[in-house]
């Protein structure tokens, strides 16, 4: 609301005054960008960093069903370390996160390259690849549960075609169930990665490729050596988006496996939720949230740093 006032001022100011304002220290105009950003920064500070701090404080308390401020030091963290389920959840996130990001990048870039070969019906195919991103697992969860169920879904289907020995019962196996989550998550996000890569490919100057073709390089070689390096920023964006999806994965687990069999497919987000909300252990849940955020930072900061720096110099 306050923004509108200076806007009217500026548009009404005569030219001369504007020239004066373009000096770094000059008046309102120099401060306007900061003023515009201020609410967002304040929001971030309060709603992101403030809430993190609050969560950290809670992780030092014995809070049960609702927050209380009875401090117990780092007791919740040592309980967490002793909790076997927490380790299952953390390991799962590693496996799930790495596979999800890598497979999405691979499939996404492959489909984008294939689609980029002057394909008929490109629009239709692109829409089909992309649509899963529009749906949440609240919508598609039941179907995925069916498809992965050995007696209802893919296994039963293939067996009914005559391949009696075909097995696809990962969801029943505590060691394999986590990979079913990867399948569904890749289904949802890989089309989006494809769109990112396709956009990147369309943005590359044709002359670079033509030059390489004149040099007699083969098509796969051109893509690998010439095109892919140009797409580095796309990879960066894709990794950021995929990583955030992986870390936040929650509906996926709830809808597909409910964390089972046993708690073999638990992830930190579901662990945190189960303890903080279902099991009235807000203290422990907060501790797990802090470790989770710490993990995110530990991976994100070096990556952000190297990417932003290399681009500045490159």
């Amino acid at each position: 609301m306050r923004d509108s006032l200076p806007m009217k001022n500026t548009s009404a100011t005569p030219l001369g005054a504007g020239a004066k304002r373009s000096t770094p220290s000059g008046g309102l105009q120099a401060w306007l960008p900061r003023l515009v950003l201020a609410p967002s920064v304040a929001i971030s500070l309060f709603f992101v960093y403030g809430f993190m701090l609050w969560t950290f404080v809670l992780s030092l308390t014995s809070s049960r069903m609702l927050p209380s401020y009875d401090f117990v030091g780092f007791g919740q963290y040592s309980r967490l370390m002793a909790n076997e389920r927490w380790w299952v959840a953390s390991t799962n996130l590693m496996i799930f996160g790495v596979l999800f990001v890598v497979i999405c990048l691979a499939i996404g870039s492959l489909l984008a390259i294939l689609l980029d070969q002057k394909i008929r019906q490109e629009g239709a195919l692109r829409t089909i690849y992309l649509y899963p991103m529009a749906l949440s697992f609240i919508v598609t969860g039941v179907v995925w549960k069916w498809l992965l169920n050995p007696q209802l879904g893919i296994q039963a289907m293939v067996q009914s075609w005559g391949f009696e020995s075909f097995r696809f019962d990962w969801i029943t196996d505590p060691d394999m169930a986590i990979y079913t989550l990867v399948i569904a998550a890749v289904w949802q996000a890989s089309g989006f990665v494809m769109a990112l890569f396709l956009a990147g490919l369309r943005g590359i100057d044709d002359s670079i490729v033509k030059a390489a073709q004149l040099d007699g390089a083969s098509l796969p070689r051109i893509y690998w050596r010439v095109v892919m390096p140009c797409l580095r920023p796309v990879v960066f964006s894709a990794v950021m988006i995929l990583a955030h999806i992986a870390i936040k994965s929650f509906d996926l687990v709830v809808a597909l496996t409910g964390g089972g069999p046993g708690y073999a497919t638990d992830l930190p987000a579901t662990f945190m939720y189960a303890h903080a909300f279902t099991r009235a252990q807000i203290g422990l849940g907060s501790a797990s949230a802090m470790l989770m955020l710490g993990g995110v930072l530990a991976i994100l900061i070096p990556y952000l740093y190297s990417e932003l720096r290399s681009r500045k110099h490159g």
């Binding site: 069903m65 919740q76 389920r85 169920n149 007696q151 209802l152 029943t172 069999p261 279902t278 009235a280």
Partner: protein, 419 residues
């Protein structure tokens, strides 16, 4: 920030008319009765309220046997805006009471004579610090065994009355080409089977020591190891399609004659009834093997939150009174498969399973054997329950874990959860 605050304030004003807290003589009720049958039954209560001039604001949140609803309730409580009434049960009523958020129903309770009307074990759960803070809706029995008589006949077996008979009958059913025991691989269903098997094999006294009093010697002892081994054996009676299966899909397996048995609480009856089957003829019910002298109860209740508005308070008190009204008790419990929370009602409308349930409830209340269900949050607090669930479901799904190790984990689960 100021810019933003103004914006939000403006939005808040715009939204003020839509803000939700129950108005004047209305109650806002948070619950998870969302299936068609439940909704119809609960509507009887709403109609009763409306016939007395009170409003009912429906706030339904399904999912995970009330887990999602509890999350919402905590969020509402944190924002200082809890609903007037919420479906809360068991020891959780005590936790909300400790937070000082629940209102007092003693006035209604005195006027209606709840002390005489309600069975002592039910009344106890409804009180916090001697005051009534919640009103019971029904009593579920958890330790039931359901069966399809045609499958039993085809396999040439009877309803089992001991665990050994169950395993024998299971073998015969498998040989006859059916799934012996229908089950869904979700933690709470695993725990439901576990507590019934433990009760059947080790008796209600041990059940009380281990799963209610959390006695470490019982939790880590020989009897627990036996119980865990029995529990693991039931897995051999199940099929490979069970992961993540909802309990009612498992019930449908019994209904359609795919499976012989199911160990499940009496809400399963809703499914049989909806399929047009008659108790005692088209499907059989019996106490879970070895538990005919025991009764694991699971009581649904509505807890009332402290309100300041006089008119809302009046509506709230009316709600508490009407929940125990015979018309609602009968309609609701017929739909849910449970028995009424007040034992003085005419049971002629109810089927044979419900009548047996009521008889067993009263018998076990006097002779002993009436125990709260651990799997349904009636026995221990949520954190301990969760930790036990973890052990039970992990042991059940891990082919390599010996029962001794699981028993040890039980002990540490009961310890670790309390802080």
């Amino acid at each position: 920030m100021s810019t933003f605050k103004k914006t939000t304030l403006a939005l808040a004003l715009a939204g003020a008319a839509l803000a939700s807290t129950a108005q004047a003589n209305e109650v806002e009720v948070l619950h998870w009765w969302t299936s068609g049958g439940e909704a119809r039954a609960a509507n009887v209560l709403k109609d009763l309220m409306e016939s007395e001039g009170y409003g009912w604001q429906d706030f339904a949140v399904a999912g995970g046997g009330g887990e999602t609803a509890m999350t919402v309730l905590k969020s509402r409580a944190m924002s200082g805006n809890p609903p007037s009434a919420a479906q809360i049960k068991g020891p959780e009523i005590q936790e909300w009471g400790e937070l000082g958020l629940l209102g007092d129903l003693n006035g209604v309770a005195d006027a209606e004579g709840w002390d005489e009307l309600l069975p002592e074990v039910v009344a106890d759960i409804m009180r916090y610090d001697g005051q009534y803070v919640a009103v019971p809706v029904n009593v579920h029995r958890v330790n039931w065994l359901w069966a399809n008589p045609e499958v039993l006949e085809a396999a040439g077996v009877e309803m089992p009355t001991t665990l050994d008979e169950l395993f024998e009958a299971g073998e015969a059913i498998r040989e006859a080409g059916f799934v012996p025991l229908a089950h869904g691989g979700q933690a709470w269903q695993d725990a439901t089977v576990f507590e019934s098997v433990l009760l059947g094999g080790q008796g209600s006294e041990f059940y009380q020591q281990a799963l209610v009093d959390l006695d470490p010697e019982a939790l880590g002892g020989e009897q627990m190891i036996d119980a865990l081994e029995d529990f693991k054996r039931t897995r051999e009676l199940m099929d490979e399609g069970m992961p993540g299966r909802d309990w009612n899909i498992a019930t449908v397996m019994v209904i359609e004659g795919v499976a012989g048995f199911q160990l499940m609480g009496d809400w399963a009856k809703g499914e049989f009834t909806a399929a047009g089957l008659t108790a005692g003829e088209d499907y059989l019910c019996a106490a879970a093997p070895g538990t005919e002298d025991a009764f694991t109860f699971n009581i649904d209740s509505l807890a009332m939150f402290r309100v300041t508005d006089d008119e809302e308070l009046e509506a709230q008190q009316a709600l508490a009174r009407l929940v125990l009204e015979p018309t609602f008790q009968e309609a609701f419990n017929l739909a849910k498969g449970s028995i009424p929370a007040r034992p003085d009602l005419d049971m002629s409308e109810f089927d044979s399973c419900a009548q047996q349930s009521l008889a067993d409830f009263q018998r076990t209340a006097e002779e002993g054997g009436l125990v709260p269900s651990m799997a349904h949050g009636m026995a221990v607090r949520a954190d301990v329950q969760g930790a036990i669930f973890d052990v039970v479901t992990n042991y059940f799904n891990d082919a390599d874990m010996p029962a001794e190790e699981a028993a040890e984990r039980m002990v540490s689960a009961a310890e670790a959860a309390s802080f």
